[in-house]
């Protein structure tokens, strides 16, 4: 009896230490597949990135996440491993369009939904500017419900300066007091992001899926004392 019990304990310990196989979406209902998608446009191209969580962490062999634009044919997102045990999906769309169609395909069937990106914008900024004066940036306005973020980086800024201007506004000034004491020319890179997110089912996927839609622009300014 003691030997049997000891054997059972040993086997139980062995089972719990065996590495788990990654779970894929084969046999998982689409409504249970939780997907997080980011669609990011720089005005000339769109990058679609996605990941899967919950009961499955990667797509099964018969499943695909799809993306397309009005002027770019739909294609499946490519799979890659950003780190061991993790899977992600990405697709590059060469389009300046401000809408994207996302879909989920299993065998011959597919469900799709079209999303409008936030309003595209063009940033006006000086090529050169003095840090002793306000540094003015301007762009065309967005809408309420969007988040607008400005991140400026450069050695004269001591890291990143992050600001959240009015999302419906059209202008922003970096102040002289935002810059550290710095002699000489300092290259400042400013990233501006107009972002909107949704949480909910799309293309038949889980109700807790998320889609983040972003217009991203970058400008570079050579600043002087």
């Amino acid at each position: 009896m003691r030997r049997s019990f000891a054997c059972l304990v040993f086997l139980a310990a062995c089972d719990s230490s065996a590495p788990a196989k990654p779970t894929d979406t084969s046999g998982v209902a689409p409504s249970s597949i939780v997907t997080a998608v980011t669609v990011r446009s720089n005005g000339a191209a769109i990058l679609v990135e996605a990941s899967i969580s919950g009961d499955a962490v990667k797509l099964g062999s018969g499943d695909a996440l799809l993306a397309g634009a009005p002027d770019v044919a739909e294609r499946p997102l490519g799979e890659y491993q950003p780190s061991k045990g993790a899977w992600a999906y990405a697709l590059f769309l060469p389009t300046a369009e401000a809408s994207v169609t996302l879909g989920f395909a299993r065998a011959a069937a597919a469900a799709r939904q079209t999303f409008a990106l936030p309003e595209p914008f063009v940033v006006t900024a000086p090529a050169t500017a003095s840090r002793a004066q306000p540094l003015a940036l301007s762009w065309n306005p967005g809408k309420n419900g969007e988040t607008f973020t400005l991140e400026a980086r450069g050695p004269c800024l001591g890291g990143a300066v992050t600001r959240t201007p009015d999302p419906t506004g059209t202008a922003f000034e970096l102040q002289p007091a935002d810059f550290q004491k710095y002699s000489g020319v300092c290259t400042v890179e400013v990233k501006l992001s107009r972002r909107r997110g949704t949480i909910g089912s799309f293309a038949g996927l889980a109700a807790t899926s998320q889609v983040t839609l972003e217009q991203l622009r970058t400008v570079t300014i050579e600043t002087t004392p």
């Binding site: 600001r163 959240t164 201007p165």
Partner: protein, 214 residues
């Protein structure tokens, strides 16, 4: 048995005591920290391995403003003094009987004023102005019932800052009076003194109000 117990009691008393009487503490083992804020008295801690030091045998700690002494009064574990509105350079002095004296310097920022417009819409820029200074680090704080608290540290003190439209988030509809505070903080210290450590922090605040409009 009684001799053994007495021996153990004496040994226990000898092994664990860290010195806190000044005559038992070397200058190299003393740590000094000084703090001053607007509308408050200066506070200094003078510590050794055994905690806050009690000065004895003619040893003492005090402040110097030029050649003039300002006494420090012991309150709990800290030493305190009312600077009476004086600003600028001060010295904290520790006179020793059996070791080297210590002298460390710190600065109290001068008073300054801040101005803001009488009112400003949260959808318009808000410009604040104050007397600049080459020393110290400036931070802005704006608080009121109809706005989310706004805090920002500045990289340099230019005596002026414009908060862009929309940066002050609305907490409730309507207008309200908001408090604007500019805080200038001077910090410092030195590892090159004959003390174990020295640090100081002195903050001066200037306040005004403005009406925040929708």
């Amino acid at each position: 048995m009684k001799r053994l117990l007495s021996f153990i009691a004496v040994c226990a008393g000898c092994t664990s005591h860290a010195p806190w009487l000044s005559l038992d503490v070397g200058t190299r083992d003393i740590a000094v920290a000084v703090e001053w804020k607007s509308d408050a008295r200066l506070s200094a801690t003078v510590s050794g391995p055994g905690g806050a030091i009690t000065f004895e045998g003619g040893e003492r700690v005090y402040l110097l403003r030029g050649a003039r002494e300002i006494p420090l009064v012991r309150e709990g574990d800290a030493w305190r003094a009312d600077l009476g509105g004086e600003v600028g350079a001060f010295v904290l002095a520790i006179d020793r009987a059996r070791d080297a004296d210590a002298r460390v310097s710190f600065e109290v920022p001068a008073p300054f004023t801040v101005t803001a417009p009488a009112s400003a819409s949260r959808h318009d820029p808000l410009t604040l102005a104050w007397d600049p200074s080459p020393t110290g680090v400036v931070a802005i704080s704006i608080q009121g019932p109809c706005i989310a608290p706004f805090q920002r540290g500045l990289a340099t003190d230019t005596g002026r800052y414009t908060i862009n439209a929309g940066e002050i988030a609305q907490a409730s509809a309507g207008a309200c009076v908001v408090e604007v505070a500019i805080t200038r903080t001077i910090t410092g210290g030195s590892s090159s003194t004959n003390l174990q450590s020295f640090s100081y922090r002195a903050s001066r605040e200037a306040r005004t109000t403005t009406v925040s409009l929708p």
